[in-house]
Symmetry: D2
Subunit: 329 residues, 4 copies
């Protein structure tokens, strides 16, 4: 039985808390949030107790800390939890500053803490199956990875100001998936981007439409495209072209219903909301973490190094976009 | 909070018990089973108590009885629960004997009991959406309903002997779906059937491959085909042809992954196991029952009349197959 | 070089004439039609000559007669062409009267004439591939054949009066396809039908919506559904369920374009017009006939016996619908 | 009636000659080829005469020259035909040297000649429909164009030496399609490429796997990926993401047949051969040219300017790949 303290009672904290509460191998003990009412409501819902972050770190009756606080707190909370001997599941990113990630990972390494980073898409049943088949050799050597990732609708321009920008806030997931599927690190990053969806996003110094190309030392190529707005739903697709074939994972539709009329054959819309689209992934992610802690596996993936590498690629893409030049990593 | 006694700790009893246990509006209080160890294991898993059927019927601390016992006990247990003032959720069928169903429904009516029958497929998100769109007029008047229903693999010939035969044991679900989608009762039933999959099924007096045509008083037509064996998975599809268009619901694949090679484009197999394929349906079915009991709705659908009508069609199809003639109902 | 006389300059005569004119192994020599202007226009288009039916039968400079005249003339023209030593390609049906077909086939047999019947769907690349795979054993023993066939829009009620009725005029093609895919003759036919699309069709003594079930001596089953109106295009699908798998052939869409919006993913409409949908089939049908005549193959399929069997099934279905009883054949 | 002289009796010359011969508005008069036997065979097949290139240019009885000679001859033959007052349909590219294209277009402009360039993919019914819908506003403003283009199998390394390289020989089509779909010129080109398929292609100084990103002045983005080898067939797909939706065009499969087994649902392979995949496109391309000449339209698209722009992008991509830097155009 893995006993959890959860930091953050916002949207993602709620998701993880419900998953912990429903997992027979886990127990939700404490909830912390800067907004007391939010912590109380969530604690009440799952029969847990409200605590401060400090209390969670010191608590002897928990084994693991789930960090779902705002990004700016991740690094210090990982370090505190690591120093307190807890296993750590932290939402991405570890930090918007690569230096802070290095420093955090040193602490984790010194303490030999278990640290898993919340790149939930690796646990999506479709993408996980795709990766599993690549590793089993279904398409031979990987040559070309394509990641298509588009959000249903853009965030407020106000939000993007503190987000680190599209490459660090949104494409970070796709950098992780490109690494996950490719199985080799990238050495060069090319980015093109614009604000086509909402001019206010451009005025806020960010972009909403972007393409990134990356290449590995052995010459393999990955292509990522992002848009902050897809009127047709949450567009999440992957394709991997290899020497012996190609593997793809399509979008997930609301139902299998199709309407046939003179206008055409209309498949139900694509799932629109990330909590629905990745519901199974969130559950699998957490059960993977719980199983790792339970079995004493100190290095479940994606780990801190995965968090670091994705951040390095996001930084490189940001610089490439800003300078109009390829960036070596 | 609806408090449940569950009768039957077999496969379907386990499914429903887990659903009840996970539903915040429901509480699992008692489990009964002819095999004490089965009842104990299930009770322990969910923190419930073991009880006899009689104890469940008499218990003052439960509101509803979920009947997942063998078919032969359904009618008497519904009557007992009704007489005891409980709400009743009963697996299909009410009885293999239409007379017993009539008698049971009289008791239910006299007591004004809430009775829902477990035709789970109505609650499948795909089929429910299909029906919802028909009722909203998406395809105008319904003219032709097609139900394709094929099991992954045949039951042992030994099983079919006590099952009532394919039409009452398997196609009963499809009769209910044809009624659900058509929205009008059928007046004539034509059946053709054979044992092509397993000769032993034929020797046991049953069939494993069957087609049924039915017509309503206004001339609308439904076609059902069944096979006890589909090598490609659990084949569950519906099509409804109307005056203004056609609605269809495809099979559900394990994942969205596709492999592209010189042999073709290979979509992942179709889901194979009924508990997986209809997992969401079982949960929705029970939450519908709970909501009905909670709100005082005494007639949630599918109700006892639906159970009766499906059984009448199954009987008619059986006679049609045996006599080689259409049967009026 | 096979030299043709074409009887009938209507819609189907035009299709076949163009195919003959474009085939390097064939030559279009004569065209006959009851309407002189129609014959002249078609002859002029392809550099052929106008002739009477009698002149075509007597002509020494033709090898084959293509019969595309109204149904009522088929039997006598086949006999005349056979007696004149010509190879014969005749549109379906040979005759609406089974007796006349028997008589005609006797003449053809006596003269050892080459006779092919225009069941064009056997030559559709999709259905031909499906059948080819069945015969190669891709799905093992065939158990259940499903033929879905729906026209885009109903004919005028006036037309149906002289058509022989839906089973002989429309479903005749599906009877042939069911035989083609099943590979075994049917021994019993069950029909249900109504006029749901156009009441005038019902008043004219015909139906526009129909379902037929048939069974072979070994117990295999075929199911056919027809509608005279499919708002979504020309619906032409087949499915064959076998012991080792299932083969299906979908509808053909106008293009591969899909539009993705919040309303769903909209595939281009299904092809609507039979000359477009079966364009490749008509060409392949005629090239098969030409190759047969050219190579001295006296029995290309579908032959007169195929025409006879389809007509017998159509008659049986008509009687089954009229009497409400199964008909043995 | 447009009378043609065809230069080149190779693979593409044969395709166009057959199309001309079958077009009732066109006549195939002369065929020229450096290999006399090739010219003779093709001329005989279609009832045309053999002539030298010079004779074709001087001939008074032709209206149009179709240039299907090796790339190195295109520019001079276009000029000669233009100076001789002929309409010109020329296979892509006009020239591997941009200067030669400029010079050629000047001649064409001076003579006011009709010149169309053989970017056949614009005439594919699927891609043409996709573009038509974009222009009609189906997805609002175009933001992101994706072109996926992969050949079934790589050419011999020997071939690539004289081909101008992947960007000029293969991706040239995709540059044209990106311009066609985007509707705005690109101002910057980023390329990444490798030889992953065949090391000999790398040793010959070329690549076989490539990704290109391009951006327009208004910030819109196009992404192209190429591989010289797709084991699953000729992969030709397009996607256009816009402000109001997304349009895509899938691959074309051999048939609509699907095989369903425990291994999955297997759609027929994707068409493998370019003459099959683009058969309809070649016919439509030529009928468009013929209609333009016939109606006096002096500027059918794609024209010489389109040929020039695609070549400029191909050169830029080549330089970007070689230098590892973005190239402005």
């Amino acid at each position: 039985m893995i006993r959890f303290g959860v930091i953050g009672a916002g949207r993602i904290g709620k998701v993880h808390s419900a998953t912990i509460a429903a997992n027979p191998k886990a127990k939700l003990v404490y909830i912390a949030d800067a907004i007391p009412a939010a912590a109380e409501a969530l604690a009440k819902l799952h029969g847990a107790q409200v605590a401060s972050v400090e209390e969670i770190m010191k608590a002897q009756d928990i084994d693991a800390v789930l960090i779902g606080s705002p990004t700016g707190f991740h690094a210090e909370q990982i370090q505190a939890a690591s120093n307190a001997g807890k296993a750590i599941m932290c939402e991405k990113p570890v930090s918007l500053a690569v230096d802070a990630i290095y420093q955090t990972l040193k602490v984790v390494e010194k303490n030999k803490s278990t640290l898993m980073i919340g790149f939930n898409r690796r646990f999506d049943p479709n993408f996980a199956e795709l990766e599993r088949r690549i590793r089993k050799g279904a398409i031979g050597e990987v040559e070309l990875v394509t990641v298509i990732s588009r959000d249903p609708s853009p965030p407020p321009a106000e939000y993007v100001k503190g987000s680190g920008g599209l490459f660090r806030d949104m494409m970070i997931h796709d950098f992780d998936m490109a690494r996950f599927l490719m199985g080799e690190e990238f050495v060069v990053v090319n980015a093109l981007a614009s604000s086509l969806v909402d001019k206010a996003i451009g005025l806020a110094g960010d972009v909403d439409t972007a393409a990134v190309q990356m290449q590995t030392a052995s010459g393999r190529i990955a292509v990522i495209t992002n848009s902050r707005r897809a009127t047709y739903g949450y567009d999440q697709r992957m394709e991997v072209h290899g020497a012996k074939g190609m593997l793809s994972a399509r979008n997930v539709h609301n139902t299998t219903v199709e309407l046939h009329t003179a206008e055409g054959t209309v498949a139900d819309p694509v799932q629109n909301f990330f909590l629905e689209r990745y519901g199974a992934a969130y559950a699998k992610e957490l059960s993977t973490f719980i199983a790792a802690v339970d079995s004493g596996n100190r290095d479940p993936k994606p780990n801190g190094f995965d968090g670091l590498q994705a951040q390095i690629l996001a930084d490189a893409a940001t610089v490439s976009w800003q300078t109009g030049k390829p960036v070596k990593v």
